[in-house]
């Protein structure tokens, strides 16, 4: 630094304000905590999305396999309107078969059991809080 620099430096020093406001460090730590929570929540959302996509892919794969080995319904993607009605007819026939009715029955039973379990647990919780 030359003489000019020293002179400028001495004149600039009054402009230097190094005061730290009260609670500055705490505000920084609070911001960090909020950011950590936000990043955790984003990570969880992404994980959940990936699980849903994977589950959907597995489910679709399972359905295709079942169709291939069991029902043998040909699925074509032509855009002919008349073919759509044929496809709907094919799908309804699928649900009318004996085996399908058994699976529908099993599924409906599970749904009813889950509903009952939900109702009972809510009533029990209500009793406990009362």
């Amino acid at each position: 630094m030359d003489e000019q620099d020293i002179n400028i430096k001495s004149l600039i020093s009054p402009i230097n304000d190094e005061t730290v406001p009260f609670g500055f460090e705490n505000k920084v730590l609070e911001k960090i905590k909020r950011e950590v929570a936000l990043r955790e929540s984003r990570k969880e959302t992404i994980q959940n999305l990936l699980i849903v996509v994977l589950a959907a892919a597995l489910f679709s794969g399972a359905l295709l396999l079942i169709n291939y080995y069991y029902f043998n319904i040909s699925i074509s993607f032509s855009f002919n309107v008349l073919d759509i009605t044929e496809s709907i007819k094919g799908v309804t026939e699928l649900f009318k078969s004996k085996e399908s009715l058994i699976w529908i029955g099993i599924g409906a039973n599970i749904a009813i059991l889950l509903l009952c379990e939900r109702i009972i647990s809510e009533r029990l919780n209500k009793k406990v809080t009362d």
Partner: protein
């Protein structure tokens, strides 16, 4: 805080002792606040930016490998964030009256004190006219004693570029202050 001590502290924070980070914040906050206030000019915005600098530094700590000092690394974040802030905000000129007056008791000569006060005001107003990048450079060099090499690392410029910019700024400031400096310093 010595450099080795600081590096050890940073290693401990990286290893999971995150509660120790407030020690780094306490140690560096005066200088960071000072430089950001000098660039951003609005006091509330400067404090907000300074907080964000420390938050960003916390999450980027894994990237700090100790090639430069932690202060230089922090100043680099401060440089980028304060420049971004000034771009997003309308330019505000903070009047000189808001700055605390330096009570120079070293001289009993009232004329010298008054002249010096005038010089500080002229210099302050001159710095106000600089663009934020140049203001950062000037304040880092004169107020925070950063070397040319450190400033080049902070601002990601070549050393020659920093020297040229500082020389240009100094020439401009000297033109404004001129021979009045001799009056103050005899």
């Amino acid at each position: 805080m010595k450099k080795e001590e600081e590096l050890r502290l940073i290693e401990r924070i990286k290893e999971g002792e995150t509660s120790l980070y407030n020690q780094l914040v306490s140690h560096h906050s005066p200088k960071i606040l000072s430089i950001v206030r000098g660039v951003v000019r609005n006091r509330e915005d400067a404090e907000e930016v300074a907080q964000d600098i420390f938050v960003k530094a916390y999450f980027s700590l894994k990237g700090f490998r100790g090639e430069c000092s932690f202060s230089t690394w922090l100043f680099r974040i401060a440089y980028n964030m304060s420049i971004s802030k000034t771009r997003s905000k309308k330019k505000i000129n903070v009047p000189y009256e808001n700055i605390e007056q330096l009570q120079d008791n070293s001289s009993s000569d009232i004329d010298i004190i008054e002249e010096r006060e005038k010089m500080v005001k002229i210099l302050y107003e001159a710095i106000e006219t600089l663009d934020p990048g140049d203001r950062f450079l000037v304040l880092s060099f004169y107020n925070h004693n950063k070397s040319i090499r450190e400033i080049s690392e902070i601002c990601r410029m070549s050393e020659s570029n920093v020297k040229v910019r500082l020389h240009r700024i100094k020439k401009r400031l000297s033109l404004l202050i001129g021979d009045k400096i001799d009056f103050c310093y005899g």
